[in-house]
Symmetry: C2
Subunit: 221 residues, 2 copies
């Protein structure tokens, strides 16, 4: 966790955390403020993350209040709350966050920046095909398509959502080189992991990749 509100100090603290303490990555829960990390204010931190070659995990958090009000309010209180959080809203906002990084060209300026996206990619993988169609490079002004950037700079974890259809969609569209098995302890635990994985018809090289090989590579373990 970094003091993102002070980007210069955040970059310094990251340097200390990685080079002195040996930490292997950065986690951001939601936004540091009203804007997302495509805001040029955060450029020094993203540059430092890239320079140190540690991944950035975009963890979901409470959506912006104006979105909460517009999309999730007005239902029974607990329904509104869960709909805006783990049911939908915070996943969606984490997906928006990642898409803004892609569309603003952050990964073309910092091609080494690697981002982790949980919960099978926070909805994004399921519309990459659409994004490529509606926002081609002729509109985005980027050298690569949205899905090409995604496959170069994003790693996906299931966050304990054991659902075979998600896995199969990701295997088909992204492949297994960027999939890192994870649960969501203590909410979702390792219970059921073995039987889930055993049901996926993975060969041993594939199982090696998603259960530890990809993580070892990304975190340089």
């Amino acid at each position: 966790m970094l003091p993102w509100q002070l980007p210069g100090e955040a970059a310094e603290e990251l340097d200390r955390a990685v080079t002195e303490l040996g930490l292997r990555g950065v986690l951001l829960a939601g936004r540091p403020g009203d804007t997302f990390l495509d805001d040029p204010a955060y450029r020094p931190v993203l540059e430092k993350i890239t320079e140190l070659d540690v991944p950035l995990y975009l963890h979901p958090f409470h959506p912006l209040p104006q979105v909460q009000q517009a999309y999730y309010a007005g239902l029974p209180e607990e329904v509104s709350t869960q709909f805006s959080l783990g049911g939908w809203g915070w996943h969606h906002e984490a997906g928006i966050h990642l898409l803004r990084l892609i569309l603003s060209g952050v990964f073309e300026r910092l091609p080494g920046l690697q981002v982790i996206s949980g919960h099978w990619g926070e909805l994004v993988p399921f519309y990459l095909h659409r994004l490529d169609h509606v926002i081609p490079t002729s509109i985005s002004g980027l050298e690569k398509t949205v899905s090409e950037i995604y496959r170069s700079n994003v790693w996906i974890t299931p966050s304990g959502m054991f659902h075979r259809a998600h896995f199969e969609f990701l295997r088909e569209t992204i492949g297994l080189d960027r999939l890192i098995w994870s649960v969501d302890y203590p909410y979702l635990t390792l219970d059921g992991t073995r039987s889930f994985l055993d049901g996926l018809s993975l060969d041993s090289a594939e199982k090696h990749k998603i259960t530890h090989g990809n993580a070892e590579k990304l975190f340089q373990l």
Copy 2:
């Protein structure tokens, strides 16, 4: 199209359109106002749609301005525009619209109400598993789970998005009884339909369903 802003008149006009003119369904582009159709103001129209046994197509449209500003603004102008429309934003808002109908209990009050959701379901099918987990009936207060309501009251069309991974996900999670082939003329046409369908390994009964049988049933053609 109905004058939704005047729900009483909208219900009357729908009656005339169906019983006198023989029309077979209702299309709504976006929201009639600042709220979605779970707003009790629209109850008379939804009741009339159900009574007349015609489906309601929730077509995407421009997202609410506060969401547009919070999530899609600040990128190059044409990128912001497409991101907020056909690239993501309007699909997402159409998905939110449907989820609000489900979570507010509209389909438990009106179990006969049938809704059509385009573009492979506007993101919703890809998180039904999550919604069931995070908003179970003990929280929603509904008799059926979100995905059970979805499979009883929603019909899905691809809207010309020819992508095998989407089709396979839907076949696996929803089945083929509520899938209606569609393009998005004049933007996406029938070009490529035959080769796409031929590549899906459908038997003739399945092909019959999605290319015309399901539509004939839903629209009583």
